[in-house]
């Protein structure tokens, strides 16, 4: 149901024919900030509990350390020419008009400090080159604006030097955490994964109960007790999926879809209770150590369960971490079946089965739906599917089109590598950042609204747990029904022709 706009304490951006480039309104979003992490959250991820006394020196030391560890940060701090190419590319700038949400200005929050402490002109002529001392106000500003960035990399597509603000945001967050000034949402979650194995803190028995429930649901619905195995030693495939898939709507229907595909293709698979999470918020907080620890749980689970393949469910940043970083963080995976990529995306797996004729999809089963597809930023700009560049765009679309007759893409400026973030990625999917989430969703909502109006689109499919949750929460602010959001594998699951299935019409005949 649409949320009454009067409830919100801030203006919800209206949708128009196109996304206008707003005139700058300095400090419009200066009040926005995430909850500060509590000492136990900080300590659970290896950082000091609260702001340390010598935060100034510690922060500068940390910046120096990161400049020596990450070429990206070192090069990006130096080579921006302030050409302005990125200034109208960030969804948070377009939605808030706060100039500090322009990618270059967000980088400059750190670059100004870098210049002051690490460059000659900044040491001798700070005013001339826009250098400034690191003060508590600057630190507060970082806390605010480095949590108004979803690390979506859209700016990097347009930057003539490839400067990726996500790298700067990550460094900013890591410095903040390391002086005891982390954000609660992500740090608490990473701590939970270390302790329990997933973002929700869902223990093994609860997980087992949920998965058994899914099998029962499938039996009721299609007459097949589709198995959702947990901790099955010797299974062929280990599925690593975002924990939201276990219970959240519409995510869980995607998980049912994966289960149906595995079952129909005769693939023996399992979920691990030790590594029951694809999400890796270590990425969001810029912490190599934490990201590596989370990734190594997956490796550990794959060894313990003696699987031959690892498949990753629908999750955007998780796929980036899995595809781009797992080999570095937890590889080499030479003990797994070399006939399959490690890791493999669930969409790649389903697509290959479809190509090989091992599964059949009947698009009539999704009749009445008109689909569009939201490219999730981390999949689009930080990973790949299949053998060819751009497979991350074509493979999910091929699945949707095989599962549903009507498909329409959103405006070319808002899909593929130019896709707009859902507004809730990068560790912002928390209620304390609702205003920036709603405003940042506007460009995506505008493009969606356009295809709803012009092409009668009824559903938007996504392959990211965060996108799905963010859409379900923010669509109503724009007077669009939250039930529009759907998992790609929900469509696949609906359309999958299964041996021994009892279809609804047949059931009603009985």
């Amino acid at each position: 149901m649409p949320v009454s706009k009067s409830k919100a304490e801030y203006d919800i951006p209206g949708l128009s024919q196109y996304v206008p480039i707003p005139k700058i309104e300095p400090d419009k979003m200066a009040h926005s900030q995430p909850f500060v992490a509590k000492p136990e959250h900080q300590e659970s991820v290896g950082y000091p509990g609260e702001l340390v006394d010598d935060w100034h020196d510690k922060a500068i030391d940390k910046m120096g350390e990161l400049l020596g560890k990450y070429r990206s940060l070192q090069v990006f701090m130096d080579i921006c020419t302030k050409c302005g190419a990125c200034t109208d590319k960030c969804h948070y700038y377009l939605g808030t008009a706060d100039p500090k949400n322009m990618p270059v200005a967000r980088q400059d929050l750190m670059r100004s400090v870098y210049r002051r402490y690490f460059t000659l002109p900044g040491k001798f002529f700070p005013k001339l080159v826009g250098a400034r001392d690191l003060t508590k106000d600057v630190l507060d500003e970082w806390h605010s604006y480095y949590h108004q960035c979803s690390e979506c990399r859209r700016c990097s597509v347009f930057c003539p030097y490839g400067i990726d603000t996500a790298e700067v945001t990550m460094a900013g967050r890591e410095i903040l955490s390391s002086v005891g000034y982390g954000a609660k949402y992500s740090n608490e979650i990473v701590g939970k994964v270390h302790k329990i194995g997933n973002n929700l803190g869902l223990p093994g028995p609860a997980l087992l109960d949920t998965l058994e429930g899914l099998t029962e649901d499938c039996e009721d619905e299609i007459g097949i007790a589709v198995p959702f195995p947990l901790d099955k030693v010797g299974a062929e495939v280990l599925l690593i999926t975002p924990s939201a898939d276990f219970f959240a709507e519409p995510h869980v229907d995607g998980l049912i879809g994966y289960g149906k595909v595995f079952h129909e293709a005769g693939i023996d698979w399992t979920i691990s209770s030790y590594a029951s999470e694809a999400a890796n918020f270590g990425l969001f907080i810029g912490s190599y150590d934490n990201m590596q620890q989370v990734a190594q749980r997956v490796r550990q689970a794959s060894e313990d369960l003696q699987v031959k393949r690892i498949v990753v469910g629908e999750c955007g940043h998780a796929w980036r971490v899995a595809y781009s970083f797992w080999n570095t963080l937890a590889g080499p995976f030479d003990y797994l079946d070399a006939n399959y990529p490690v890791p493999q995306h669930i969409c790649e797996l389903t697509y290959d089965l479809l190509q090989a004729g091992e599964i059949t999809l009947d698009p009539r089963r999704n009749a009445g739906k008109v689909l569009t597809f939201h490219d999730s930023c981390n999949v689009a700009r930080g990973s790949r599917m299949g053998d060819k560049p751009g497979g991350q765009f074509t493979i999910p679309r091929a699945l949707i089109q095989a599962a549903c007759e009507d498909f329409v893409d959103m405006s070319p400026n808002t899909i593929h590598e130019k896709t707009f973030c859902c507004g809730g990625g990068g560790g912002l999917l928390t209620d304390d950042l609702m205003e920036v989430r709603v405003k940042g969703a506007m460009p995506r909502m505008q493009a969606l609204h356009e295809v709803i109006e012009h092409d009668g689109v009824t559903h938007v499919a996504a392959i990211c747990a965060i996108c799905k949750t963010q859409f379900a929460k923010t669509l109503p602010y724009f007077d669009i029904g939250m039930e529009m959001v759907i998992s790609v594998h929900q469509l696949v699951g609906n359309a999958l022709v299964m041996q021994g299935e009892v279809l609804e019409e047949e059931q009603s005949d009985v």
Binding site: I24, L67, K69, Y70, R71, S72, Q74, V75, F76, D78, I79, C80, T81, K82, C83, G84, A85, T87, D88, P99, M102, A105, D108, T119, P121, K127, L128, R153, S156, V157, F158, C159, P160, Y161, G162, D164, E167, Y288, D289, Q292, Q293, Q296, R299, E303, S324, F325, N327, T328, G331, V342, P343, R381, G382, R384, D387, P389, G390, Q392, E417, K418
Partner: protein, 247 residues
């Protein structure tokens, strides 16, 4: 006296430019990139990456996607400057290389392209509120410095000629450490002083984007992380599995 000052300044500026740029590039090369972060879709081969970099360096392909005005002005300025620089080779080569001779006519007009491009970029910095917001004094001054170099150069070509034979003798003298006197007209002395300033500023300014872009990991990395494992030296000391750490 003037000749000695300028000659010394040129040697000093050249040395600082080379040392500065080499030091920065050495630093960029030395700092590892621990994670594979090309902005995708990205090439899956080294050759593909070379093409991607060539497209960025010579066609400004990302900037073209971003903003047609900035792209047009940027192309005018950069290619104008490149052709003007090539034209200046005639002051350093004897006999002047054939292809440099052939490009003389183009180099003359290139100066205008460079100047107009720079004026456009400067105007944009003042007029567009977003770009004005992100501009520091040094951002304006960089453009002004380059525009003044172009302006004084154009003035010497079209309005008040300097003695180019003497200029060439001076330039050749610098190269052979056998100094010849420099003409003393104001335009030439300003032109050269501004160039010396530019050379000094280059390694400690955003002009490092020129070599720096080649080190940008989002552009220069191959998209092959599943096939090829890479680990930064500083990350190698980590425990290889969590269980080892727990034991």
């Amino acid at each position: 006296m003037l000749t000695a000052i300028y000659a010394t300044a040129f040697y000093l500026a050249t040395a600082l430019l080379l040392v500065g740029v080499m030091f920065k590039c050495w630093r960029y090369a030395k700092v590892p990139q621990p994670l594979v972060i090309p902005t995708t879709p990205a090439p899956v081969t080294r050759g593909g990456v070379v093409l991607r970099l060539l497209r960025e360096v010579f066609l400004f392909s990302s900037l073209f996607k971003a903003n047609k005005w900035t792209w047009t002005l940027g192309m005018l300025f950069h290619y104008g400057m490149l052709l003007a620089l090539i034209r200046h080779l005639r002051y350093f080569t004897e006999p002047v290389w054939g292809w440099v001779v052939m490009m003389q006519w183009l180099g003359v007009y290139a100066g205008f392209a460079m100047f107009l491009g720079l004026l456009g970029l400067l105007l944009r910095r003042f007029v567009v509120d977003r770009v004005r917001y992100i501009s520091s004094p040094s951002d304006y001054l960089s453009l002004v410095l380059l525009a003044l170099i172009a302006f004084t150069g154009l003035m010497m070509k079209w309005v008040s000629h300097t003695d180019v034979v003497m200029v060439k003798a001076f330039a050749r003298g610098l190269m052979t450490f056998d100094w010849s006197p420099l003409p003393t007209d104001f335009l030439l002395l300003s032109h050269l002083a501004l160039v010396i300033l530019l050379m000094l500023v280059f390694p400690v300014s955003k002009m490092m984007h020129a070599p720096g872009v080649l080190f940008s990991p989002t552009l220069n990395m191959v998209d092959n992380p599943r096939e090829k494992r890479s680990v930064a030296p500083w990350a190698k000391t980590k425990p290889s599995t969590l269980s080892e750490k727990e034991n």
